[in-house]
Symmetry: C2
């Protein structure tokens, strides 16, 4: 999104980073700590392989999570919230809590 839009309304900028079906969920699952790629994907049973990769790639690109590759066989990859990602923890918790409180 353009900077002009961000200045116009920061909320729109926030949503451009996490306003999708899967991103908040992925971030939420990473709150307890770093997690292997396969396990994180298992936490979102209905996500397709393609969307999972796309989701974590964009979250990494936007600096919300970090990706760590272990040079072992079989391959091992872990994802973890960055400082920027952790700064969303409270908001994610509130969004989750709000959902649980609705009829």
């Amino acid at each position: 999104m353009k900077d002009s839009e961000k200045d116009y309304c920061p909320l729109a900028y926030t949503m451009s980073l996490i306003g999708t079906k899967w991103k908040p969920l992925a971030l939420f699952h990473l709150i307890p700590g770093s997690m292997r790629s396969g396990l994180l994907q298992k936490k979102m049973p209905e996500i397709s392989n393609k969307m999972f990769t796309q989701t974590v790639r964009e979250l990494e690109r936007d600096g919300l999570i970090s990706r760590k590759v272990f040079p072992v066989v079989p391959p091992k990859v872990e994802y973890e919230l960055t400082g920027k990602g952790r700064s969303l923890e409270d908001i994610l918790q509130r969004l989750d809590k709000w959902g649980s409180e609705q009829s």
Copy 2:
């Protein structure tokens, strides 16, 4: 979304209600109080006519805003946050604040 998914993760349910480009923005602009349809749309200069109508319709359907029609000419319509919508105020403020704090 299915109830099973909601139970699985309330966050997903929340995002199904407000996890779009325009919905959080519309709700945010209504925080100060009720607003005429035309003015609300002006607050989101880049939204198309079609998307604006769709956005407010869905927010109304989901009980987050109310729609009040005044029987006058020219037509006058006002939108306002419902109790359920107001319960999101704090979260919306935080999302906006988070966006403003990013580089």
